[in-house]
Each structure stands twice: as structure tokens, then as C-alpha cells.
């Protein structure tokens, strides 16, 4: 303590002399850093901005000035067109069915598995967890064909079941939940045990509410993951009546919808598709907070 005090006292006069130029140099450096970061951010944002801008363009305008961010004249005709297109509404419906089922069930199942791995003592727990971690290391693409074969074997090809069930649990989610549950003080659960709660009651009434930040994380990841999923839907269903937004828009983009480049239409579909996920992030980013505060004295 006394050492630091002494050294600041000694360094003070020099500091006073250099203060002004140091501040100026510091400010210039900071501006440089920020402009660089802003430029990089802009490059990342640009494709998305183009998508939004183009969705409001007329087709000739989009073809002539594909990179322009100002539609002239601006029009919403691409959106009208999509709205009247029965296929698009079907895709939305399919996406909602699959995404909502996957999201809610995944939150539930991931947390159940995570809780078991974190708290219940059973033979093979370590091995089970190691396997789950190992699964995370396997690239999804590797499993596409085996999954396709299994889905067919199980007779759920071309059904919602085939699209939903394989997505219900994910290793990363179980991993996140397990780690979070382990951070909850055991005394809270022991207290509930003494108060008369059984294992499921403790999980449901005590631990789950305390795990809200992790649950929200899983919820967002599951929603975003299944909403944006494409590869799995390609291998699990063929029928166009089971097309999801991702599959439909991908087909649009690969030019199966008549003549011309039809950029406005395709990008209007893409733009609409991003809205639910964007809203989700917006809603939840404020909600992710530490609900465990006040449980125990740290």
C-alpha cells in the first residue's frame, strides 16, 4: 500500500507535464481503433442491409443497382406477392410447427438430462457425460446420411415426426444445463429435500426457476437453430407440402420460381424469415439476468 502511494507521489510532476499531449495521442488512437472496428462491423452488416433494401426495390431497379441501399422507387410489391403466394404461408406454418415443438421440448429435455447428469448419482454417469461431450465434436454433416437412413428405417420419413424428433435433444444444450445446475448451491436443494420435496419437485419448483438464464439461452439457441435449420429438413422430408421457410427460400434462391433473377422476391422472403429470431433476441437480451441472487450468502 505505502509503496504505491510513494510511487504515485514521485511520478506526479512528470505526469502533469505530459498530460495534454498524452490525452491527445490517446484520443487519436481510440478514434482510429473505433473507425477500424466500425468498418469491419459494416462489412459484416452489409449483406443483411442489401437484403432489406433490395426487398423494397422493383425488379429492374434491383437488377440495375444490386448494391444500392436506396430503393428507387421504393415498393412493397415483393411482399404483396409473397403474401399472395400460398406456398410461402405453408412454409411459415411448417417452420412454426417444427420450431415451436423443437424449442419447447428441447428446453425441457436438455434440462432434464442436464439435471440428471449434474445431481443424480448413477452408474455410468461419467461415461454418459463423456459421450455427450464427444458427440459435440462430430460435425453435423457427417451424420446427415446415417440420419436419413435411420429416419427411413423408422418409417418417419416425410413426416413432421422425422423433422422434429431428431432435433429434440442437443449435446451442447445438455452440456450448458449441466454446468449451470452444478453452479446452483446444493444447500438450496438439500433445504427443499428436508422441506419435503422429491426429486422431480425439486427439479421443477426449485432448480428450474433458478436456472432461468440457462433456460433462456437454450430457448434462444433451440429456436434459432431449428428455425434456420436446412440440412436436416432436406434429408428428412421430400414432399413440398412439408417445406419449411429455409427449404422454400433456398429453392427460391436456386431459381426454381420462374424467369428473371427475382431478387426482390427472394430477399423479401429472406428478410421476413429473419424477423422471428431477431425479435426473440430483442425480447430476451434484457431478461437474461442472474435470478439466483439472494438465494445464498456468498
Amino acid at each position: 500500500m505505502s509503496g504505491t502511494a510513494a510511487s504515485t507521489a514521485r511520478g506526479e510532476p512528470r505526469k502533469l507535464r505530459t498530460t495534454k499531449s498524452a490525452v491527445r495521442r490517446h484520443r487519436a488512437g481510440r478514434m482510429l481503433t473505433y473507425s477500424f472496428l466500425a468498418a469491419v462491423a459494416l462489412i459484416y452488416l452489409f449483406p443483411f442491409l442489401i437484403a432489406i433494401a433490395t426487398s423494397f426495390k422493383t425488379e429492374p431497379n434491383a437488377t440495375a443497382n444490386p448494391l444500392s441501399l436506396a430503393p428507387s422507387p421504393p415498393t412493397t410489391s415483393a411482399f404483396h406477392q409473397l403474401y399472395q403466394d400460398q406456398d410461402f404461408l405453408l412454409w411459415v406454418k411448417n417452420s412454426l410447427i417444427v420450431t415451436l415443438s423443437v424449442t419447447f421440448l428441447r428446453v425441457f429435455l436438455d434440462s432434464l438430462a442436464g439435471y440428471a447428469l449434474a445431481r443424480l448419482r448413477f452408474r455410468g454417469r461419467g461415461a454418459a457425460f463423456a459421450t455427450i461431450v464427444a458427440v459435440m465434436a462430430v460435425p453435423g454433416v457427417v451424420l446427415l446420411i446415417p440420419k436419413f437412413l435411420m429416419i427411413r428405417q423408422l418409417g418417419i420419413y416425410n413426416t413432421y415426426y422425422g423433422m422434429i424428433i431428431p432435433l429434440l435433444v442437443d449435446a451442447a444444450g445438455v452440456f450448458i444445463m449441466k454446468n449451470f445446475f452444478e453452479s446452483i448451491p446444493t444447500s438450496v436443494e438439500e433445504s427443499a429435500r428436508i422441506d419435503g420435496a422429491g426429486i422431480f419437485r425439486i427439479y421443477w419448483s426449485i432448480v428450474l426457476p433458478m436456472a432461468r438464464p440457462a433456460l433462456i439461452t437454450i430457448f434462444i439457441l433451440a429456436f434459432q437453430g431449428s428455425w434456420n435449420e436446412l440440412a436436416h429438413f432436406i434429408i428428412s422430408a421430400q414432399s413440398t407440402s412439408l417445406n419449411t421457410l429455409t427449404k422454400g427460400v433456398a429453392q427460391l434462391a436456386s431459381g426454381q420460381l420462374g424467369s428473371g433473377n427475382r431478387y426482390p422476391l427472394k430477399l423479401a422472403a429472406s428478410t421476413l424469415m429473419t424477423i422471428p429470431v431477431a425479435v426473440l433476441f430483442f425480447v430476451f437480451q434484457r431478461r437474461i439476468m442472474n435470478v439466483a441472487s439472494g438465494a445464498v450468502k456468498e
Binding site: 438450496v188 428436508i194 433458478m210 435470478v291
Partner: protein, 401 residues
């Protein structure tokens, strides 16, 4: 209402560590018993075995007449207060207190008056709708108490419930817990490492060390008649001064030689401890409580004198603690060192341990504030010989009858 019985209870963990060894102990119905000891002594494990949070490896625990070894925690009718309170953070105070009632399928109409009554006892009525994070440490502690009280259990278990409070609040809550316990007269087992808490709260105190019960008696008796060196140095603050001494016969008298000083033991000391005579010619550990030392001249008859140099003085207002270095061999066996929880004395001891010849011991004397002492001054301390304690150096056991 029920008592608790430990019958040869042993707890061995998977890795072979014995947390509790062969514990035999009876807590009477309605009694307030404190388990105290340094960390790792097995006190918390013993408590958790009563709760059913740890399995009993061997032996039997009974609550009332019922053997509870294989009962689930919820079937034991015990309530527990945790060191970190373990509140349910997403529930209000009322929901926290009422959770156990809800688990018993009690209706809301039935539960509400009980929750309110509990809140009234604890002064939480205005906070029933708050969440734990909106409460102060002391209030959270009360909620934890409330969760236990509302159940009207047979047994309260408390695991260092006050150790997270600041000193002032701790003293206040200490009195309050004792009051509530008396009011409800529920059998209570209270775990703490703080011997002051143990002394002030317990009807009886069980001192544990390394999983072994050292002594189980009312606080005053622990203080006045410690069973061994460990209890002697652990109970009391400042701790008992413990020196090496030799017993010798001098004519008709038995004398106790401490360093260069000879203390003649009064006949009443010998008659109270007949076994002492058999130690004549041997070394023993002699224990002197800080209050058994007086500024010279204060005490006549039945006293001896120790000469030393004042190294430090702590003024406490009505009294002062003098750290006096005397020519004597301190007893530094593990029993003593482990029992010293007082940082000051541990420091003193460490200082002495590094001393090369090791023939100097630091005594702490609790003296009247009027005694005028100056640091580095040589003083004579009068020793109240009737209050000396004697211990076998080998076994550490007290030398008595």
C-alpha cells in the same frame, strides 16, 4: 418433541476418510446442544447425518424412539437452517416460509395464518411479499429461521447460521435464536466453529476434534474442567496459557516448577486432584486462564508469582490484556495448537516457535484496567494457584481424581 441419540455412529467416506468416529451422545428433549470444533472436526457431518443428508456408515441415530438411519430427510420431521441460508430466490418470503407446508399439501387458508404467525415472531411481517434479493443479510437469515419454525418440527438443525452476519448482528441474532428456541422448546442441534457462540447459546456443548467427541457438558463446566488439552485451549478467549512444568516434592509440599519459578501447590489443589501426586518427578502441562493471573500485589495467599516482560498491551476498556513473555517452556503439542482459534495467540505462538532456544513463553493475562503497565517493563504476575489446570503431557488428558 423428541430427543436425539447417537449410538456408536461412524461416518466413513468413499475415500476412506473418517469424518465421525464412534460417536455416542444423547440430546435430551427440548435441549439446545451445540456441536463445536475446528473445521474438519466432523460437527457438520454429524448434523447432516441427523438431517438425512449424509448416510450413516455405522451405528444408529434415533430421533425420539425411532431409528432414522434409513429414513428420507422429509420423513424425519426435522428442519434445518443452512449457513448460506439456502433460500429459494424466485419465491417471496411468504412462499419461502410456506414451501414446506405446501409440500405437505396444506391448503392456502390453513397455511397463511401459520406463515403470518412465524413472520410475526421473526419481525418479517412487512417483508412477506419481497424476494430474498431485496432483503438484508439479517433479514435473509430470519427467513431461513422462519422456514424452520413454521414447520413445528421435532428437531431444529442449524449449521453455522450466523457466520455470515456482521459481528453486531451476530450477537443480536444469537440472543434471538436462543430466545426463540426457549419459547418453542424444540430440541435443537447447533453447529458452530465459534466457541463464544457455543458457550453463550448451548445448554450443553459437544466439543469435537478429528471426528472424535472430546467432551460433552454444560459450557461452564467445559470452561472450568476441560477434559483435555485440546478442550482447554479451544474453549475460552483469550485462550488458556499452557506451559510445561515439573512437579516436585519439597518437604511436605508438592511444588510446580515452571521455568525458573517455583509455585507451591496449596493442599486443596492436591486434594481436589489426588492423581497429581503420582506425577511427582514428571513433567506435566499446566494451564493458567488469563483471569487467573493478576497484577502483582493484588493477591495474597494461595498464590505464586511469575516474572516476565510485557510485550504488548490491549486495552479493552474495563480491563486490559497483557502479553507477557516469561521464562518457561510453552507446550506446543498439536492438541494445543489446533485448539487455538484466536489469531493473536496463534501469532504469539508462531513467534515463539521460531525462537531458537524456545525457552520463552508468551502469557496472556486479563488484568484490571487500573493496573498501570508499560511495554517492555518487567512485571510480576500473581498466579491464582487454585485455578491451575494440569494435564498429562503424553495423553493430553486432564489430571484429576
Amino acid at each position: 418433541m423428541a430427543g436425539i441419540t447417537f449410538d456408536n455412529v461412524t461416518k466413513t467416506y468413499g475415500d476412506g476418510t473418517r469424518a465421525v468416529s464412534d460417536l455416542n451422545l444423547d440430546v435430551e428433549d427440548g435441549e439446545f446442544v451445540v456441536f463445536v470444533g475446528p473445521s474438519g472436526c466432523g460437527k457438520t457431518t454429524a448434523l447432516r447425518m441427523i438431517a438425512g443428508l449424509e448416510e450413516v456408515s455405522d451405528g444408529e441415530i434415533r430421533i425420539g424412539e425411532r431409528v432414522v438411519n434409513n429414513l428420507q430427510p422429509r420423513d424425519r420431521d426435522v428442519a434445518m437452517v443452512f449457513q448460506n441460508y439456502a433460500l429459494y430466490p424466485h419465491m417471496t418470503v411468504a412462499e419461502n416460509i410456506g414451501f414446506a407446508l405446501r409440500m405437505r399439501k396444506m391448503s392456502k387458508q390453513e397455511a397463511r395464518p401459520r406463515i403470518e404467525e412465524t413472520a410475526r415472531i421473526l419481525g418479517l411481517v412487512d417483508h412477506l411479499d419481497r424476494k430474498p434479493r431485496q432483503l438484508s443479510g439479517g433479514q435473509r437469515q430470519r427467513v431461513a429461521m422462519g422456514r424452520a419454525i413454521v414447520r413445528e418440527p421435532q428437531v431444529f438443525l442449524m449449521d453455522e447460521p450466523l457466520s455470515n452476519l456482521d459481528a453486531k448482528l451476530r450477537v443480536q441474532m444469537r440472543a434471538e435464536i436462543a430466545r426463540i428456541q426457549r419459547q418453542l422448546s424444540v430440541t435443537t442441534v447447533y453447529v458452530t466453529h465459534d466457541q463464544v457462540e457455543a458457550m453463550t447459546m448451548g445448554d450443553r456443548v459437544a466439543v469435537l476434534r478429528r471426528g472424535l467427541l472430546q467432551q460433552f457438558e454444560p459450557p461452564q463446566r467445559l470452561y472450568e474442567q476441560p477434559a483435555n488439552l485440546f478442550v482447554a485451549s479451544f474453549i475460552g478467549s483469550p485462550a488458556m496459557n499452557i506451559l510445561e512444568a515439573t512437579l516436585e516434592r519439597n518437604g511436605d509440599d508438592v511444588v510446580c516448577r515452571v521455568g525458573s519459578t517455583t509455585l507451591t501447590l496449596p493442599a486443596e489443589v492436591l486434594s481436589a486432584r489426588p492423581a497429581l501426586v503420582s506425577y511427582v518427578g514428571k513433567s506435566v502441562a499446566v494451564g493458567i486462564r488469563p483471569e487467573a493471573l493478576h497484577h502483582s500485589g493484588r493477591l495474597n495467599g494461595g498464590s505464586g508469582r511469575l516474572r516476565g516482560v510485557v510485550r504488548a498491551i490491549e486495552a479493552l476498556g474495563p480491563e486490559q490484556l497483557a502479553h507477557v513473555e516469561v521464562e518457561a517452556q510453552p507446550v506446543l503439542v498439536e492438541d494445543v495448537v489446533e485448539g487455538l482459534v484466536d489469531a493473536d495467540q496463534a501469532e504469539d505462538l508462531a513467534e515463539i516457535m521460531t525462537d531458537s532456544d524456545g525457552a520463552k513463553a508468551m502469557l496472556v493475562a486479563r488484568l484490571d484496567a487500573s493496573a498501570s503497565l508499560r511495554p517492555e517493563e518487567t512485571v510480576e504476575l500473581a498466579v491464582d494457584l487454585r485455578k491451575l489446570h494440569f494435564f498429562d503431557l503424553e495423553s493430553g488428558a486432564t489430571i484429576g481424581a
